[in-house]
Amino acid sequence: MNDAGNNQLVQFHNVNFSLPTAAAPIISELNLSVAQGETLVLLGESGCGKTTTLKLVNRLLVPTGGEVVVEGKSTTAWDPIALRRRIGYVIQEGGLFPHFTIARNVGLVPSLLGWDEARKRERVRELLDLVGLDPEQFAERYPRELSGGQRQRAGVARALAADPPLLLLDEPFGALDPLTRASLQREFAELSQRLGKTAILVTHDVREALILATRIGLMHNGRLLLLEPPDRFLTSNNPQARAYLDTLAVAEQAGENG
């Protein structure tokens, strides 16, 4: 499906990104490939450059050095509108439009692509079912009338609407209470496996990374420190990785003692 021939959907080649107003670069010399069907989780504290990395993929930002290649073509060679319509995007709280109903929010990209009404309505029903929202009950509601978890489900449905090959998720479960988060994480893992989607997900929650990732990329100060599957990440000697794993250990200990 692409000229790289090795099923790499997204590739970063020596990517740098800096703002003219800031001295320190936000991304330095980033090299990275995301294979078809994989879920890459970028892990790191806030300000490490993980969200910027995500925005470089759908050309909300353009690298100041190197290139980002999506489906074999540099993002700067893509028509940005066409590129974005092929990439699902989910942000915290879903980023739903407050003045659109849930149905209109979910059917947004199909509308932009000019689908006819009947096909769009059918797709919206299907997607709401898929993310566990009853279409009868939720289609005509406004985002304000939904709980945080329900909004997040609608956000995922919207990202999936036009069946994009790639999903970008920016701390999608960050604002949810722990129980809702856990169930949504489980459902998402199952869903992305079933649909065979490629996903890049950004989080600062190491537990979430371990649950969802096929590979974990650990970022710090704009650099990729480590890129390993979860089992290798657990045994890594990298001090940053250990620091994350220690928080996990403390939590478990507390759990056992309690």
Partner: protein, 512 residues
């Protein structure tokens, strides 16, 4: 006359003024929205323009409205007298709140929502139309609401440039010291402002609640429908008001005081009696009627030779009436292609007045007699007298007058100020009807400072050629009005508060 009685007599005219007022405000706001909203959108796209453009709009709004009208009058295309100038000024005033609120509204859209819109693959136009504008609409309507309320107020000043509206009653009321006129004008303007505020407030609340909660498309359709209805009604009113004033034969102007409007009305009625259609543009401020006749916006207006001689031709005052008249007639023909009619038979000079009782007590006859008391007196002068070439500066120098205090006030208020001891000396019009009724005494101009002010009509030469009946009417009016007669006519209007049209009709009937 009670206010209620006044309304019964004048409701038709009041409704006409309200309609003029509304049409002015409506067109101005429509134009300001058409210019302001896209400008605001542009500013959200080009950050560098934001400061300068908003700054300019801000400065525009700090210019006092009367001054802004003054700047606009001499400009070609957008200036002159009438509704056009008023509209330009109104639009300039309305722009700031509309531009500012458009910018604030759009920039106030949640950044994550905008980012999601872009990331979904919306084009800039789609982000604007589907996300930013709908979410900013409440704030934008608030801006339109503020602009509308301001415009209803500023439109009252539009009467000063002959655009009509409720300001006509307010200015006339101030001049004639008539509370009924003032009340009718000011009260109606205030009610209009409240009504505009209230109805746009409803629209605003509707939008905000629609976006906050449930009602979706159906509300938006109703809103679009309501806006469409308003546009249609406004458009119809505009069309009617424009078609009403289609091509009259003669456009007559007057200055902004009773006698000038009276003399203009006399010509208007005599022309109408001869089948000539007339448009009245009365009560124009300052030298506006002169400018309008020279540029061809007006055909004719009443003037005084002394005013032409000093204020327009900038000569030093002289005292020979014949010499002044001949000089004015010759220079007007050469410079402006404008003709000066035969004198009407009376002079309206500045009359220096003191209270009758004071004059008898101090045995005052002339201005020179009064000079020794000036140091203890307060003088009250109209804005016109303070500023013109044959006014206060030369007057005080000629007679060596040094007043304890000089108060600049509206001319029409000086009479009442003098009779009620607020001031001790005023400069009034010699034909003023209230001189006798308030027991005021006119001091003789013993040094002949004031030039002769013979009443004449100033008329365009091409108008005389185009409408021959005009010459016939002006010939009939030569030497036709005595000083006693004009005082009487003025008093009927100012003193007895009668309708000028009726007073003129009676006078013409009497003269035959």
């Amino acid at each position: 006359m009670s206010f209620w009685h006044f309304l019964q007599l004048n409701w038709a005219e009041l409704l006409l003024l309200i309609r003029q007022h509304l049409v002015l405000v409506f067109i101005a706001i429509l134009a300001a929205v058409i210019i302001g909203v896209p400008t605001g959108i542009l500013l959200t796209r080009h950050r560098a323009l934001r400061g300068p453009v908003l700054g300019l709009a801000n400065v525009m709004q700090t210019i006092p409205s009367l001054a802004l009208f003054g700047f606009l009058i001499p400009l070609p295309f957008i200036g002159g007298i009438g509704a056009r100038t008023a509209l330009v000024a109104l639009v300039l005033y309305s722009l700031l709140p509309i531009i500012r609120n458009t910018v604030t509204g759009i920039l106030g859209v949640e950044p994550s929502v905008r980012e999601a819109a872009v990331a979904m693959g919306m084009t800039d136009g789609q982000v604007l139309r589907q996300v930013e504008l709908p979410l900013a609409m409440g704030v934008i309507v608030t801006g339109i609401r503020v602009a509308t309320v301001i415009a209803v107020g500023v439109t009252t000043i539009a009467a000063a440039v002959g655009a009509g509206g409720l300001g006509v009653y307010i200015f006339r009321g101030l001049r004639q010291y008539d509370n009924n006129l003032l009340l009718a004008g000011a009260l109606s303007a205030a009610l209009l402002a409240l009504a505009a505020d209230f109805s746009l407030g409803l629209v605003e609340r509707r939008i905000n609640s629609a976006e906050r909660k449930f009602a979706g498309r159906s509300t938006r359709r109703k809103l679009v429908l309501a806006v469409a209805v308003v546009l249609v009604i406004g458009g119809a009113a505009l069309w009617r008001s424009l078609s009403n004033t289609d091509n009259p034969d003669i456009r007559i102007g007057s200055k902004d005081f009773t006698e000038s409007a009276l003399l203009a009305e006399i010509v208007a009625q005599m022309l109408e009696a001869r089948g000539v259609s007339v448009e009245r543009r009365f009560e124009l401020g300052g030298n506006l009627p002169h400018e309008a006749v020279v540029t061809g916006t007006l055909d004719l207006y009443p003037e005084y030779t002394g005013t032409s001689y000093t204020a327009i031709l900038h000569h030093k005052p002289i005292s020979d009436p014949r010499a002044v008249y001949d000089q004015v007639k010759q220079e007007y023909a050469e410079k402006f292609n404008v003709e000066v009619s035969q004198p009407l038979g009376f002079e309206n000079t500045f009359a220096i007045l003191v209270r009758g009782a004071e004059a008898r007590r101090l045995n005052l006859k002339t201005i020179s007699d009064a000079a020794q008391y000036a140091g203890e007196w307060r003088a009250g002068f109209g804005q016109d007298f303070m500023s013109r070439a044959d006014g206060y500066p030369g007057f005080s120098k000629t007679y060596g007058l040094k007043f304890a205090e000089v108060r600049e006030m509206d001319l029409s208020l000086t009479y009442i100020a003098l009779s009620s001891n607020q001031v001790d000396l005023i400069a009034a019009n010699s034909t003023e009807g209230r001189i006798a009724t308030l027991d005021l005494f006119q001091l003789a101009d013993d040094r002949h400072y004031f030039p002769p002010y013979e009443a004449v009509y100033i008329v365009r030469q091409d108008s005389l050629a185009r409408v021959p009946k005009l010459r016939e009417v002006l010939a009939k009016l030569a030497n036709a009005i005595s000083t006693e007669e004009i005082r009487q006519l003025n008093y009927e209007i100012d003193g007895n508060k009668r309708d000028p049209k009726e007073v003129v009709r009676e006078w013409i009937a009497r003269k035959g």
